[in-house]
């Protein structure tokens, strides 16, 4: 890997993405064993530094670390103790003094993993920062598509929903484009980020046009409570215009697959039956997430810079 930390897909070369996906292929098999553990990262310490609440992603990283025999520590500074009193960089410096080997960071604000990485000696894995990136999600999505379709190059991937606030969307736009797919987005106009076409995607407000000939449909979670009324009128109207159901899938290719980063608002982003059954591959995504994160931890752990942390360099 050319960079010490995995902060975003934007920084990765296509070859690096493929290397991670290939490494994940080997990890899948470990999950099928009775004893789901290999000694690869024995003696290494992985810290899950989650400033923002998360159950699924944190569990996935924790299981991945444990299957590689690493010691996994969950560190979740409560937002109240952190508010105003301790800066994120103070937290990072404190953590650095405990000599972790990898730090997995999630924060509700974009850029925090990058700034934490700037002061840490250990590599940082971004587990989601604001509306910026969620690289391991995009990697597991690519892995799942490759598993289902046998390739990514030449496919058409349509991402539907709240692109504006979505780190999953940004990481997937980069990842699928770097691997040769065409990426389209479809959203209510207020949820299309300004100048998003500069990221190389085609933006649609009509779901029908966006789905025309699509190989993959990825629905994003709508934060119903917070956004209804401001960015779209209501869950009912959203569901009618942008919700994916079997009828709307008729616009896409016959062998289209449906993805969702979870958790699904059933009946809003996806119709009830689609959430559980083919062509949806949502549980495959979750399952692959563990293998993919094992691959990431394996490739990035053990790259701790002992002698030249930026902190010491600056002083």
């Amino acid at each position: 890997m050319s960079q010490p930390s995995l902060l975003g897909i934007e920084d990765l070369e296509p070859g690096e993405i493929l290397r991670i996906l290939d490494a994940a292929e080997h990890m899948v098999e470990i999950g099928h064993r009775t004893v789901k553990k290999v000694p690869t990262l024995r003696g290494r310490t992985i810290v899950n530094l989650f400033f923002e609440a998360s159950t699924r992603t944190r569990a996935s990283f924790e299981i991945a670390g444990k299957r590689l025999s690493a010691d996994v520590v969950n560190f979740s500074p409560s937002s109240s103790s952190l508010k105003k009193s301790e800066s994120i960089l103070d937290t990072a410096r404190t953590l650095d003094a405990m000599d972790p080997d990898v730090v997995v960071v999630r924060h509700a604000v974009a850029g925090v993993p990058k700034r934490v990485a700037d002061v840490l000696s250990a590599p940082v894995i971004n587990a989601g920062d604001g509306a910026h990136e969620h690289p391991t999600q995009a990697l597991l999505d690519c892995f799942t598509v490759r598993q289902q379709k046998g390739r990514i190059d030449g496919l058409t991937v349509t991402i539907v929903g709240d692109i504006l606030h979505s780190r999953v969307a940004r990481s997937n736009i980069y990842a699928f484009q770097k691997l040769g797919a065409e990426v389209r987005i479809a959203a209510p106009p207020p949820m299309i980020p300004p100048h998003v076409e500069q990221m190389g995607v085609k933006a649609f407000t009509s779901l029908r046009e966006a789905l025309d000939g699509a190989d993959v449909v990825m629905a994003l979670r709508i934060q119903n409570e917070r956004l209804a009324g401001a960015y779209f009128p209501s869950a009912r109207e959203y569901s009618a215009t942008y919700g994916i159901d079997r009828a709307k899938l008729g616009y896409a290719k016959d062998d289209v697959i449906v993805m969702h980063p979870g958790p699904v608002n059933r009946g809003v982003e996806l119709s009830h039956d689609l959430a559980d059954h083919r062509p949806s591959v949502i549980l495959d995504q979750v399952r692959n997430g563990v293998a993919l994160r094992m691959a990431v931890l394996y490739l990035y752990a053990g790259r701790r810079r002992v002698d030249e942390s930026p902190e010491t360099r600056d002083r």
Partner: protein, 430 residues
Amino acid sequence: MSRILVRGGRVLDPSTDRDEVMDVLLESGRIASLGRDLRVDDAQVVDAAGCWVMPGFIDLHSHLREPGQEYKEDIATGGRAAVAGGFTAVACMANTQPVNDDPATTDFIIDRARQDSPARVYPVAAATKGLEGQVMTEMAALVDAGAVAFSDDGRTIMDSGVMRHVLEYSRLVDAPVITHAEDRTLVAQGVMNEGAVSTRLGLPGNPSIAEDVLVARDLMLAEFTEAHLHVAHVSTRGAVDLIRRARDRGVHVTAEVAPHHLTLTDEAVTGYDTHAKVAPPLRSEADRDACRAGLVDGTLDAIATDHAPHAQHEKELDFVEAPPGMIGFETAAAVTLELVRSGELTPLEWVRRLSTNPARILGRPGGSLGEGRPADVTLLDPERIWVYDPAKGCSKSRNSPWAGKQLTGRIVATLVEGRRVYDVERGPLT
């Protein structure tokens, strides 16, 4: 009183359109005379060869943080930073703790400045009590105490009815109303310019239309009330266009632009450096170019720093929580000299925007090297190359996007009322 002879510098005085090498004699706190090869006995000589000799810069916009937030800055350190940047007078905004919305607070600032600050300090009082945008402050009493203008800087007055009456009432005291023009409902959660860069970085965007809409409203209110509106830190192409057209219609509007909006763009936020977080935010290249053009054609009258000190631990918060603002006194001259080197502004026109025009806007003395005027004088070596290190600067805070950068052009000496208050080799002299 001692006499000082500033010898052999290039005198740049926009008030008389003078641009020639000559000597300046200062006596009893005033400009006594100008001429070639002045012969004066018993005068202290300042060798200004190779330097520009200018009326002291006047900053229309700064935050000195005293009273209430002395851990960021106080009137003494802010005043020293000002003279180190060539500013002989600075206007300070009202968002102190307590807010400067009461003559007692204005008195305090003026008293403290008289004791502690080498630069003159002109308090800007709040336009509404507590900067809450509801109840007008006692403008007449505040002006009697020494307030020079009124502003709820940082907190736009969103109620158009309140803004109308503030503007109307300001005619009584003949002081400008300074608007920080950002429609808060359009800013929403925005922390950087809304555009391709915010989309890429995933940070909430603050659209340029938030400024345009409020500038348009305030220009219409100024036209309607016939009051003097001053638009603070213009950052958008739309705002420059609106001000230009209003000026053409005869609206009494003046405007300022900050060094960072003239030279940086939202690309500076890449890497999530909170030192690039400022309100209004760093904008697109098109906006920056429009601000430069507006400054050149006179639509924007003045360069004002919006010097806004914040402590290091505050700037180490995440990009949303970190407070907006950057310090600017000590870098303003070097940073904006870029417009002189590029040929956009002549040296004389550059000085006009840092000194003569701000003096006119505030109705204060200064901005001139005419005989009999106050001896507020700034000397600059336009070629001197230096590396800016805020830790070695005079401000208590270090939040500057130019930290560690090599700059060209440095203030070498500053005099206020005929007294030397700053020297580049020795630092602040008070």
